[in-house]
């Protein structure tokens, strides 16, 4: 048995380069000295080409899934919720542009590497979140997207071992994906982090993610993915939501604001502060976030407010906030979640 497994693995390793060069051929990009370049670098060059900033962001994601991730056009179309013909056209246009404008097939030099790597990591992260939080699409395709993102992140981290952020992204994906079995109920509803059955979490993935993160942090080259991973590690290594180091999580979000000064990060920080110092302290921060007119239309803001109001014992306030969130028409899974919370509030009112 074991020997067969080893043979299978060897076979896969042998087949892999062939698959990749056919992907590169499909891209119809010229690869000078292709036989003298180690296959790993070739694979990395392919990813960098697919994530080139001269292509628009959606195209980068689609192209990376097709050429580097090995997904079929119809699978990509399904995850983007567009028809197969539309997606095929988009991919053809992208390949034509790469060829016609001569977008180089190579790993960028030292000078351009940091910003280009940031683009690559962003694309892999988008693939993952599409699978992780997709509002529709089959469970199968979503799981496929997460697995593809983890595989790509692993290859990039392996091929660029000096880049702490590449390891940071892989750690983040592993630590987050480890919770997938507990994230939805058998009925397909979202389960809150604090209510998840932690025995369902994949401990092997958590340990690997945590180990990768520690190694990355020791390089002393901090960045947003390492911070997101550190936050995920705080959650994944705690025995319960109450046991989590919320003060540390709040501090990590504050640090993250230096890289991503977005209301989304600020709202996450508010929730962590609420857990560390009480709901009232969190509400103060959320109220400031809510001053932003665009975020008034963000259902998650109202969902976060509702939860903090509930913790404060303000059931009417919590109910109103959930209803506001519903009016903003969040994705189906979140609507179901809100209805469940409203039922819960109603049953505790009596």
């Amino acid at each position: 048995m074991a020997r067969h497994k080893a043979v299978d693995r060897l076979r896969r390793e042998v087949q892999r380069p062939a698959k990749e060069s056919s992907a590169a051929r499909e891209l119809a990009v010229t690869m000078p000295n292709v036989y003298h370049v180690p296959m790993g670098d070739d694979e990395l060059a392919l990813i960098f080409t697919c994530c080139h900033p001269a292509l628009d962001r959606e195209t980068r994601v689609a192209l990376t899934l097709r050429a580097a991730g090995g997904l079929t056009t119809s699978e990509i179309a399904a995850s983007f919720l567009v028809g197969e013909a539309t997606m095929a056209k988009r991919l053809v246009r992208a390949k034509h542009k790469i060829r016609a404008a001569n977008i180089a097939f190579r790993v960028p030099g030292t000078e351009a590497l940091p910003s280009r790597l940031f683009d690559v990591l962003r694309v892999i992260y988008l693939i993952f979140t599409e699978g992780h939080t997709a509002t529709s699409g089959s469970e199968l395709i979503r799981g496929h997207l997460c697995a593809t993102a983890v595989r790509l992140a692993r290859r990039v981290a392996e091929l660029l071992p000096d880049e702490a952020e590449a390891s940071g992204l892989l750690a983040l994906l592993l630590l987050t994906d480890a919770r997938r079995p507990a994230r939805t109920s058998p009925e397909g509803d979202i389960v809150l982090l604090e209510d998840q059955d932690r025995s369902l979490w994949d401990q092997q993935m958590i340990q690997e993610g945590d180990r990768l993160l520690q190694t990355a942090l020791r390089r002393g080259k901090p960045g947003p993915y390492q911070l997101w991973a550190a936050i995920a590690a705080c959650h994944s290594t705690a025995r319960s939501a109450q046991d989590s180091d919320w003060r540390q999580i709040a501090a990590l979000y504050s640090e993250l604001l230096r890289y991503e000064p977005t209301p989304v990060v600020e709202a996450n920080r508010a929730v962590a502060v609420a857990m560390a110092e009480g709901p009232a302290a969190g509400l103060v921060i959320l109220d400031v976030v809510g001053l932003h007119p665009q975020l008034q239309r963000w259902p998650q803001l109202h969902m976060a407010r509702a939860d903090l109001l509930r913790r404060l014992g303000d059931t009417p306030g919590a109910t109103a906030a959930y209803q506001t969130a519903l009016e903003l028409e969040p994705p189906a899974a979140e609507q179901a979640f809100i209805h469940a919370r409203l039922r819960f509030l109603l049953s505790h009112e009596k």
Binding site: H52, A54, A100, A101, N102, I103, A104, P108, A112
Partner: protein, 120 residues
């Protein structure tokens, strides 16, 4: 391969008046960028264009030549000049386009030039 830079600019009235220090500064900024491209051996050709108000648009329909006084499309930004460079790939072309003042004031469209012979 060759790339054409279409250098966009805002309306004519936004340009500095000839002879002013601002016009001199802009002229010098272009000269410096163009000299750097020439020194690197990538510059094929470059020139500013007369104002879009001097443009004539030509269309032939049913063997008849129709002229329109003005540009083919009314846009907020107009093409104010062009540069042709010979570069190894798009990254190199983008690097040079970014050195031109139009990239900071307005925008530059980088278009790969199809390699076909010009009759001589």
């Amino acid at each position: 391969m060759k790339y054409l830079f279409l250098l966009h600019r805002g309306a004519d009235e936004d340009l500095p008046a000839p002879g002013t220090p601002e016009a001199m500064a802009l002229f010098n900024a272009y000269r410096e960028a163009n000299e750097a491209m020439a020194a690197a051996g990538v510059l094929v050709d470059c020139a500013p264009l007369e104002s879009v108000s001097t443009a004539t648009t030509v269309r032939v329909r049913n063997d008849e030549t129709l002229l329109t006084d003005g540009p083919a499309a009314e846009l907020k930004e107009q093409v104010g000049g062009y540069t042709i460079v010979e570069c190894a790939d798009l990254d190199e072309a983008i690097k040079w386009a970014a050195t031109l003042p139009a990239a900071k004031d307005a925008s530059i469209e980088v278009r790969p030039v199809v390699n076909v012979g010009v009759p001589t």
